[in-house]
């Protein structure tokens, strides 16, 4: 089907897919890290992303009100503030909905997570109203490239370019944090064996909190970028994006950091190509079928380590 399409259309769809996939990947990091460390699906993670989208708009409005007009400074300040406050929300979620349930059945935290997402949604709706909100377009303009025999044009907006750059930068930073710092080492030790790590004097509770905070921070990065890109959001964007990001995390192999990014990119590309060249009605059906197919042949995802069952 792709054969016979103008090359600029194919390239443009690939760019669309990569941008979408990069945001999925950033959010998927939160799912995959939490799953890695305590083996639970943090269903409230999508709502954390939603909160960060609101924070972005609020901080842009506030900082502009106080006269911060220089664009790079404004963006940096907004990014920093949003990441900070969203991380605080992530910390609260862990503290309230997960820590008291550390000893209970596996399904109990799943239910509190669903409860927390309902609470976050209503909290935002009650404070900010139900109407969809938006942010003014701060970054306009795009790079255009001419390719193909007929001089077809492809567009990459500056924001889209930023999304890809920042997504990879933050993934690199995160990988460094996890592999090279004492904090990362503590997290990884807790991930491998919680009881043993705590016996060896690693503050496991703090490690788990750290993971939630990092996950929320990455979701906040995604929230800022996505809000800048699409310009609008409402109080229930967390759900669909959350499910897609979770799918990406599982596709890439839940628990694996590069897997989350890979899963995100594959999912983004798959959606983009399918809706671009086949039919956008069945885009999500295709995405989920792809997931099922991958899991049938690789039950622990693309980069996940197969679980060895010990008897």
């Amino acid at each position: 089907m792709i054969v016979g399409m103008a090359p600029e259309i194919v390239v443009q769809q690939a760019i669309n897919g990569l941008v979408l996939g990069a945001t999925y990947g950033l959010i998927a990091v939160g799912y995959t890290m939490v799953y890695g460390i305590i083996g639970m699906i943090n269903f409230a993670h999508g709502e954390i992303y939603m909160v960060s989208a609101y924070l972005t708009a609020i901080f842009i409005a506030t900082f502009q009100f106080f006269g911060l007009a220089y664009l790079p400074a404004l963006l940096a300040a907004v990014l920093a503030a949003t990441v900070l406050i969203t991380a605080l929300y992530g910390w609260f979620v862990e503290r309230i909905a997960y820590r008291p349930l550390r000893q209970s059945t596996r399904l109990a935290p799943l239910i509190t997570a669903i409860g927390v997402s309902l609470i976050l949604q209503s909290y935002v709706r009650l404070s900010q109203g139900a109407r969809s909100q938006g942010i003014p377009s701060l970054l306009q303009g795009s790079f255009t490239l001419n390719i193909g025999p007929h001089g077809g044009m492809i567009h990459i907006t500056h924001v889209q370019f930023f999304i890809i750059v920042i997504a990879f930068l933050s993934m690199a930073l995160l990988t460094f944090l996890m592999l090279k710092t004492p904090m990362g080492r503590a997290c990884r030790a807790t991930e491998q064996d919680l009881v043993m790590a705590s016996l060896l004097g690693i503050p496991t509770d703090r490690a788990i909190s750290t993971v939630f905070v990092i996950g929320a921070a990455m979701a906040a990065v995604a929230g800022v970028l996505v809000s800048l890109n699409y310009g609008s959001f409402d109080f229930h964007i967390g759900f669909i994006t959350g499910i897609k990001a979770f799918t990406a995390a599982v596709l890439g192999g839940i628990g694996s950091l590069p897997g989350a990014m890979l899963g995100g990119l594959i999912l983004g590309l798959a959606e983009s190509f399918f809706s671009g060249f086949v039919n956008s009605d069945y885009k999500d059906v295709f995405a989920f079928s792809l997931l099922v197919l991958v899991l049938i042949f690789r039950p622990s995802g693309l980069l996940g380590q197969p679980q060895v069952a010990k008897v």
């Binding site: 924070l55 609020i58 409005a61 669903i114």
Partner: protein, 411 residues
């Protein structure tokens, strides 16, 4: 004393920082307005709550609680045969009498509650007994509802023919889902079932020519031995109020649906309770506890898992048929992931695997949001808070499932 206040103060400060942007700075288009009261209020509430929790902990530490003795006594009493027999007669009687005391709104809610009881009983088999985390249970519910609606639309099936056929169709879908996921565990299973639920909903929504897409399908109301429940019967039919010689009331139809549904619920309850103590039910639970041990003992995990999926799906399908019959209209918006999450919440809140617990949780979780309807804005918030509080307070659910012990040498 200082430490007592320090922690809550810290919490309040953090809450203040976190909530100031969202609840204090409210977006107005591209600018904002400042409401200083709400974050302060939230922070104060957090302070009081945290202080209360600490005080509560100190107080309960100083209390002497004869936990073990109390529990033993209670357990012995609760499972007493007389009590059991009395309840098993009393509750159905109350249930059967209930519709005659309810107005139409009450009946609608009661029917909805019973449908959720069915769904929860079905999911309880899959999640509670067999330990397979199914997050797309709504798919079977949708298959049941659409099975009836489309069967009526294309084949002219009536309620009574559609009921078993839709149930079988849903069971078939359960098998279909079961095969590919046999190898998957835990959360991989969760996401695949979730995906399956979404796929079914998306197909129902997109396949315009067959399902009517978002416009949905109109469903005929059920009949009883050829008698209809409408004000004026269609050609050749007799409305039941004329047959019985009573005044027409739209309630009759709902009472009828309620009664049939109630009998079905009783039947399923009996079935599920029996199954739990039959070899199949025991195998489900054994497989949940340790799959490897089961397989090494020669248990065929394929048959066991598939039977759990099919059984659960069938009950979910029956729930769907009743949903379609009571609404008179089905469309895909009724079968979103939120429904799956709600049913799962019912099963977990009720106590995984505990049948009475699940029944109570289903009734409470359907009625609670309706009672909160008058506080419309805060409805979902209170619902979410209740879910979190309940799980922290009783993570094992309302009723911890009790394993019946078979004593030998007593008759």
């Amino acid at each position: 004393m200082r430490r007592l206040l320090l922690q809550p103060l810290l919490t309040a400060t953090l809450i203040l920082i976190a909530t100031t942007p969202i609840s204090g700075l409210v977006l107005q288009g591209y600018s904002f307005s400042f409401h200083w009261q709400s974050p302060l209020f939230l922070a104060a509430a957090a302070f009081v709550l945290h202080l209360g929790l600490i005080l509560g902990r100190i107080w309960s530490r100083n209390q002497f609680r004869p936990v073990a003795a109390l529990r033993l006594q209670k357990g012995a009493w609760a499972t007493g045969p007389e009590w059991r027999r009395a309840m098993s007669l009393l509750l159905p009687a109350i249930g059967l009498a209930l519709p005659f005391f309810l107005d139409k709104y009450g009946l609608t809610v009661a029917i909805l509650a019973l449908i959720y009881v069915l769904l929860a009983l079905g999911l309880n088999i899959v999640v509670g007994l067999a330990g397979l985390l199914d997050m797309g249970f709504v798919a079977f519910y949708a298959v049941g509802a659409y099975g009836y609606a489309l069967g009526h639309h294309y084949l002219g099936l009536g309620f009574w023919t559609a009921l078993p056929m839709a149930a079988l169709l849903a069971a078939g879908c359960g098998l279909l889902l079961g095969f590919p996921v046999l190898r998957m565990h835990g959360d991989y299973l969760a996401i695949v079932t979730l995906g399956f639920g979404e796929i079914i909903r998306l197909i129902l929504n997109n396949w315009m020519d067959f399902t009517g897409g978002p416009n949905g399908v109109q469903v005929d109301f059920p009949t009883f031995m050829g008698l209809e429940f409408s004000r004026r019967a269609k050609e050749g039919g007799v409305p039941i109020h004329e047959f019985l010689g009573i005044a027409y009331s739209s309630n009759i139809r709902n009472i009828f649906i309620y009664l049939v549904l109630f009998l079905v619920v009783l039947l399923v309850l009996a079935l599920v309770t029996r199954l739990k103590y039959m070899p199949l039910g025991r195998t489900w639970e054994a497989l949940r506890e340790d799959e490897i041990a089961c397989r090494s003992l020669g248990i065929n995990h394929v048959v066991v898992k598939l039977s759990a999926f099919a059984m659960g799906a069938m009950i979910g399908g029956v729930g769907g048929v009743f949903f379609a019959a009571s609404q008179g209209f089905v469309n895909p918006t009724s079968f979103t992931f939120f429904e799956s999450a709600l049913v799962l919440a019912i099963v977990v809140l009720g106590g995984l695997g505990s049948i009475p617990g699940v029944v109570i949780a289903a009734i409470v979780l359907t009625i609670l949001p309706e009672l909160l309807r008058d506080f419309s804005g805060y409805r979902i918030l209170v619902f979410g808070l209740a879910m979190v509080a309940m799980m922290i307070w009783r993570p094992q659910g309302l009723i911890r499932p009790q394993r019946r012990i078979f004593l030998t040498g007593r008759h």
